[in-house]
Amino acid sequence: MTTADLLGKILQVVMGLAVFAAIVGLLVFFIDRAPKKGRDYWQLVGFLAPAIILLAIGLIWPAIRTTGLAFLDNSGNFSWDNFIWMFTQPAAIRTLINTVVWVLLVPTLATALGLAYAVFIDKSRGERYYKALVFMPMAISFVGAGIIWRFVYEYRAGEREQIGLLNAIVTGLGGEPVQWLQTDPLNTFLLIVVMIWIQTGFAMVVLSAAIKGIPAEQIEAAQLDGTNPWQRFTNVTIPGIRGSLVVVLTTISIATLKVFDIVRTMTAGNFNTSVVANEMYTQAFRASEVGRGSALAVILFLLVLPIVIYNVNVLRKQREIR
């Protein structure tokens, strides 16, 4: 990168910010000087229009169009081909199965681990630092996490010394080194480990806050009743944080359904590890199969939908109880 390149980039950013500031400034100027008649209306338009226009052009219209594209074949006629392909081709079916495995394992394990950790370190000395260690992967990109774990799973053939931690442990115990990322179906589970590694911190932080929100009196009362710690956990803590548990499970489930970067970085979907989000990218942007890519996007949407509906219902019931 030359200095000229750097200056060019800085200029682009500065110009971008300046143009943006000018747009907002103009908008505010007109909001303030809107004609007296219907002033409220113009002010409303001024405040809402940028967001609504962007959402309409960038999200609503594309979503409708993608749904349409999913039902077109390569010559532009209506057909079910893309969906038939998805549910008949072994590779595509495998993608769907993998996605189901991901969404069953990641939210449950990440939440369970996060909850256990939050309970174990609750009120212990140095709680903040313990939390930071497990929470840190949240800040790391999925690409960075992918590289970190590829290094753990690294394989060296024959008698060479292993540089991947996992194979070093296996050979240290007298086993044969394994090509972790190429062994199907083990590789899918090893990718899932990476996602759990990232999401546990999120579960831990939210659930820890929820646990601290449980009134101390409830726990005292349970203690006076002579319950043991496990009974207090299942009968007081769990009901006390039920709402947060639902939220955590939902959020992680949705993130897991959309997981793309981890698969892309670690195996690029080879060796039977692909998932719907990765396959959508591969089909639409690598293989130029726009119809198949769109169909996969629609499936992704349909998979997210019930989770959200369930979540909204739970939330509404809680509001009613309150």
């Binding site: 971008g16 809402l48 212990s124 949407f301």
Partner: protein, 328 residues
């Protein structure tokens, strides 16, 4: 009578309360002692913390080891096979050789993408959130629910048409503008900025609305009575009061954009001129997955900014997380 005793009079009940609190504090410290003597829980916590930290730690150590040592020995043998070098970082950041990762340029791109892509959606979302919260209009509820519902539309639903839109409208428009007024630079980052702005809006509007809605109505009424216009109220009252919410969402959006791969892959084109670090790293993994001296150092170059943000702004980060996670 007794049930409406003024709060500042120390009644018998009040004393009972405070002694109850003392008792609670006693048992709380008692609980801490018991916690410390519960060796299994502590051991399990430490085990989890170690397992969670070791992968990153190993990569970090390796990024400072010479290439031959990384390739032949495990990083945990650093004491038997000592060796420490900054060559890996020099190579990935500054090497002019065409085959080198040249991450310096991509690092600048990541910043150039992430800063505007944090500011743009925040400003628009604040404005929309204000309108939803404090300007009365018909259909406000329906529109707000629609925006809220957009959160569940996966990015994947929007990618193909948005890319087509950019290449058939935005690009020609930019090229035309550039030909007309050559001073305007060929704006390379614009599609990525716009994409990130759009995708951030639904959540941003929702969270900021929740916050801006909580501002006491009296404050805003008083300003209106004094003749303040909506934009004055927005800039003088609402924005300053909403700073905590804006800060937490800004951190989130910045990290999200910095760590993004999908949007970059589709809208950036992948050249040194635009592509962010994540995209370059993913590419390196694909083509040079065995060059561990470069991958380890490269990964850490990409981790530095998020980790600085994380450790310095952890409080806001957690707050934003808690606000975001209680959404429906």
């Amino acid at each position: 009578m007794s049930s409406v005793a003024p709060v500042d009079l120390p009644t018998g009940e009040g004393r009972d309360d405070s002694s109850f609190e003392e008792a609670a504090r006693d048992t709380k410290s008692g609980r801490i002692k018991r916690r410390l003597t519960s060796p299994w829980a502590t051991a399990a916590a430490i085990a989890i913390a170690v397992v969670w930290t070791i992968p990153t730690f190993g990569l970090f150590i390796s990024s400072f080891r010479p290439a031959e040592l990384i390739q032949t020995t495990g990083w945990w043998t650093i004491f038997q096979n000592p060796g420490f070098t900054l060559d890996n970082y020099r190579d990935v950041l500054f090497s002019p050789s065409q085959s080198a990762p040249q991450l310096g340029a991509y690092f600048v791109n990541s910043l150039a993408i992430a800063i505007p892509a944090t500011i743009f959606p925040l400003v628009f979302a604040c404005m929309a959130a204000y309108a939803f919260a404090w300007i009365k209009f018909r259909g406000a509820n329906v529109l707000f629910i629609l925006v809220f519902a957009l959160q569940i539309v996966p990015l994947q639903m929007a990618l193909v048409p948005l890319l087509q839109f950019f290449s058939s409208w935005l690009r020609p428009l930019q090229a035309g503008l550039h030909n007309l007024i050559p001073i305007i630079p060929e704006q390379n980052y614009l599609p990525v900025w716009i994409a990130h702005t759009i995708f951030a809006l639904p959540l941003a509007i929702f969270l900021l609305h929740n916050f801006i809605h909580e501002i006491p109505g009296d404050v805003i009424e008083a300003a209106r009575v004094d003749g303040a216009s909506h934009s004055q109220i927005f800039f003088r009252i609402v924005l300053p009061l909403a700073i905590p919410a804006i800060a937490s969402f800004a951190i989130f959006q910045f990290l999200w954009v910095w760590n993004d791969l999908l949007v970059a892959l589709i809208f950036s084109g992948g050249t040194q001129d635009v592509a962010p670090l994540t995209q370059r790293l993913a590419e390196l993994v694909g083509s040079r997955g065995q060059d561990w001296q470069r991958l380890t150092a490269g990964a850490f170059v990409s981790l530095v900014v998020p980790l600085i943000v994380f450790f310095s702004l952890q409080r806001f980060f957690v707050r934003g997380l808690l606000a975001g996670s209680t959404k429906g």
